[in-house]
Amino acid sequence: MEKELKYIDIVEQPISMHPKKFALWLFLVTVVMIFAALTSAYIVRQSEGNWLEYELPEIFWVTSGIVLLSSVTLQWSYVSAKKDNFVSLRLGMLLTVLLGIAFLVGQWYSWIALVDRDVFFVGNPAGSFLYVFTGLHALHLISGVIFLIIVLISTFRLKVHSKSLNTMEMATTYWHFLGGLWLYLFMFLLLNH
């Protein structure tokens, strides 16, 4: 029914951003909206009283440090990719993946710390919210780690270099965003718990 068409020309792109990168930014907007909804729900609920007071697990300071460090290593790796320095590119990526996993383990220990001080997922919403924040963020972070591992594998296939940075740039954007998101959540909790 439909005819085969031959193409001779080129898709014009009025703005210079790669469509996939642009789509990633839009995806980040949706993640922002989810957490904006949850954190504002937290404030609304908190203002109604009957709110459990407890200390935040100290390990959050450690995991925040880890996530900051992982952003630094990834940035280093990205700069290396720009300069076609493959050894430090791979090393940086590997470090970032390991730090990402370390962060997730740290978040797990924060849950153990919460249980130790009798703050459970089931109970007063003050505690439940904390589990939801950390859990949902960890879920996104796992997707980020998977993304990084995919990029890491492609660095070994020499698919990431100064002329082909799109995937690498997207992974970097996503990872920095997730780190920033965690820092926002942590600050928010420090200010509002």
């Binding site: 029914m1 439909e2 005819k3 085969e4 068409l5 031959k6 193409y7 001779i8 020309d9 080129i10 898709v11 014009e12 792109q13 009025p14 703005i15 951003m17 790669h18 469509p19 996939k20 642009f22 789509a23 839009l26 995806f27 907007v29 949706t30 993640v31 909206m33 989810i34 904006a36 909804a37 949850l38 729900a41 609304v44 609920r45 109604e48 009957n50 709110w51 459990l52 997922f121 089931v122 109970g123 007063n124 919403p125 003050a126 439940s128 919210f129 939801v132 949902l136 799109n166």
Partner: protein
């Protein structure tokens, strides 16, 4: 300009050359990445849901209009939901109302409307080969399909589908023991909605990216057809509001299945105290309506965009106030996010907050009135051609006015105390959001059917369909205003036992009969749709003598839309009946330099610039040709 177009020979280009088109049945009709096929998939699925959703409403209208009726004849279909005495089961009635709302709002008027026309029209009208990501687009449809399957299965389970109303307010929806409809049906509802949200977001991200990144040469934002503006802003609204529904649903899932207390506090069910403390059901309402209100505009804006296009084309006049239309749509987009609490005036919210939301709500009347004014002034003294699409568009304007006016009543927090949760509300939103959007959907199908299937819909059947539906809709919803003002509450299974409502038997019977006739009239359309797909009159390339880009493609465009180069755009999309021009329309692809007889003074000045650009591009083209 020249360097820019040479520089972009990477990425997206090669995708097209790489996979040569060896379409088999599966890649062409099922796992298609062609935006046109995906649009048609959304349309057909939407039509399927519209039949189901409409049929469910007929079932509960039977109960409301004929409370004494013996429904034994429905037993083969509904089985145990018809009791011994031939009456509809009350819990199933609640499920019917819930599912009717859910299906119509999300599956028909969001996926069926936005999904169909954003997919189908965005690349065609902006001059793109396809969406930014065909794969994501395919995924969007298949998430929607999965969501549909789950929601459909929930209709047939033993405890019945979700029954807490389409807004699924906790604690009713959170406690399985509350009503049968809060059991497995509710779980399936939440799972289905999760997939639906994923589908909407995938689609929305694609629409926005495509509109921003893939417009053809010359297609500036000020030359976009109003349909594209509408789809674009709809996608923006969806992108910002659907994640919030996801957050609300997530917390509801935790409350239902994990025992948390986000929305639950101090509840007794059947004399037994539940352990949940500290939750807030109003919290859910805030989160839900932060999506729920923008959702109204997700449903309505595409219909308004389609109407702009159809009315301008069939009035043979430029749309009146193009910029005002864009600005008012932008205004509606922004306002839609800051009015949600007008759904909660009687939920125990601070009355001062109510006054603020009332004020913001009433402001929406301004951009809405601007739009109505522009539709009417476009029609004013135009050379009207009453195609079925045109009739449905005018019908939309009618519903938008009559349903919009009652919105001003409901937006007042004091009057809302009387009218809240009555049939007045039902009448209001069925006119302004339900019927208006549905008419936009139908107008779009009638208008773009030739582009979708290469054949024309039968106009005579279209006229019959229009008049039956138009009159039918008013006969169904107009009387509801009266019973609503009298205090008749919505969602009630039985009303004959109450002093204040038992005198409305005749009115309810009238409404039910009108509903059945209106529903039956839709089968005329269904016949027309499927018959014309195969047997309809063959379409010409530009049957409505329209200016926009989709009519410059072949009658049945292949994957890639234009054989050869994508056309360049030289003018806005509404050059109808331009004084001096030979024809009463000038397509967007005609350069100003070719129409000196009809150019306005400021356009004549642009001709020189245009000729320069064209000269540059001819050089680039020659350079490209030698490369290939």
């Amino acid at each position: 300009m020249a360097t820019a177009s040479v520089a972009h020979h990477d990425g997206a280009v090669h995708d097209h050359h790489d996979h040569e088109h060896h379409d088999n049945f599966i890649t062409k009709y099922i796992f298609s990445t062609d935006h046109k096929m995906i649009g048609k998939q959304f349309l057909v699925t939407g039509i399927f849901w519209a039949i189901i959703g409409g049929f469910l409403s007929i079932l509960f209208r039977l109960q409301l209009g004929f409370p004494e009726m013996n429904l034994e004849f429905l037993r083969p279909l509904l089985g145990g939901w018809i009791d011994e005495g031939g009456k509809l089961d009350p819990t199933f009635y609640l499920a019917l109302v819930t599912m009717h709302g859910t299906i119509m709002v999300f599956f028909v008027l969001t996926a069926g409307l936005s999904g169909t026309f954003s997919n189908f029209l965005i690349p065609l009208q902006i001059g793109a080969r396809d969406m930014a990501s065909g794969f994501m687009n395919m995924l969007s449809y298949w998430f929607f399909f999965l969501s549909s399957v789950i929601m459909f299965i929930s209709l047939f389970i033993k405890t019945g589908p979700a029954g807490g109303g389409w807004v699924v307010y906790p604690p009713l929806s959170a406690l399985e023991q509350a009503i049968p409809g809060s059991g497995l049906g509710m779980t399936l509802w939440l799972v289905a909605m999760t997939f639906f949200i994923a589908s909407s977001l995938l689609g929305g991200i694609n629409y926005i990216t495509t509109v921003i990144n893939l417009r053809t040469k010359g297609m500036s934002f000020s030359r976009l057809p109003l349909t594209i503006w509408a789809f674009f802003l709809t996608a923006v609204i969806g992108l910002l509001s659907f994640p919030v529904l996801f957050a609300a649903a997530l917390l509801l899932v935790f409350d239902r299945s994990f025992g948390t207390s986000f929305y639950l506090s101090d509840i007794y069910v059947a004399g037994e105290a539940l352990p949940n403390t500290g939750g807030s059901p109003v919290l859910y309402q805030h989160l839900f309506w932060f999506l729920g209100h923008p959702e109204v505009y997700i449903v309505l804006l595409p219909a308004l965009g389609i109407t702009s296009e159809v009315i301008a084309t069939n009035s043979r006049k430029p749309i009146f106030g193009y910029k005002a239309m864009v600005v008012s749509m932008l205004g509606i987009t922004i306002l839609s996010f800051i009015v949600w609490a007008h759904h909660m005036f009687v939920s125990g919210m601070n009355p001062f907050l109510g006054s603020i939301f009332m004020f913001l709500t009433l402001i929406i009347a301004v951009p809405s009135a601007v739009k109505v004014f522009n539709y009417l002034t476009t029609l004013w003294r135009g050379n009207l051609i009453f195609t079925p699409a045109m009739l449905f568009s005018i019908g939309l304007v009618s519903f938008f006015i009559s349903g919009g006016l009652t919105g001003i009543f409901l937006g007042n927090s004091a009057i809302d105390i009387q009218l809240h949760d009555t049939y007045f509300v039902v009448a209001h939103f069925h006119l302004v959001m339900g019927s208006a959007s549905f008419f936009g959907l139908l107008a779009g199908v009638y208008h773009w059917f030739p582009k979708m299937f290469g054949r024309m819909l039968d106009a005579r059947l279209g006229y019959i369909h229009f008049w039956l539906t138009f009159v039918g809709v008013y006969m169904v919803f107009f009387p509801m205003h009266y019973i609503g003002i009298a205090g008749f509450p919505r969602r009630y299974y039985s009303w004959t036992n109450f002093e204040f409502s038992n005198m409305y038997t005749d009115l309810n019977m009238f409404v039910s009969v009108a509903a059945i006739i209106t529903f039956a009239a839709q089968f005329i359309f269904l016949f027309n749709f499927f018959y014309s797909m195969y047997r309809g009159r063959k379409a010409t390339q530009n049957p409505w003598r329209s200016t926009t880009l989709e009519w410059t493609t072949p009658i049945e465009p292949g994957h890639g839309n234009w054989p050869g180069e994508i056309p360049t755009v030289y003018r806005w999309p509404y050059d109808y009946s331009k004084p001096g021009a030979a024809e009463d329309f000038i397509p967007q692809t005609v350069p100003l330099s070719q129409t000196p007889e009809s150019n306005l003074p400021h356009e004549q000045e642009l001709v020189k610039l245009e000729l320069e650009i064209m000269k540059d591009e001819a050089e680039v083209l020659v350079a490209n040709e030698s490369k290939h």
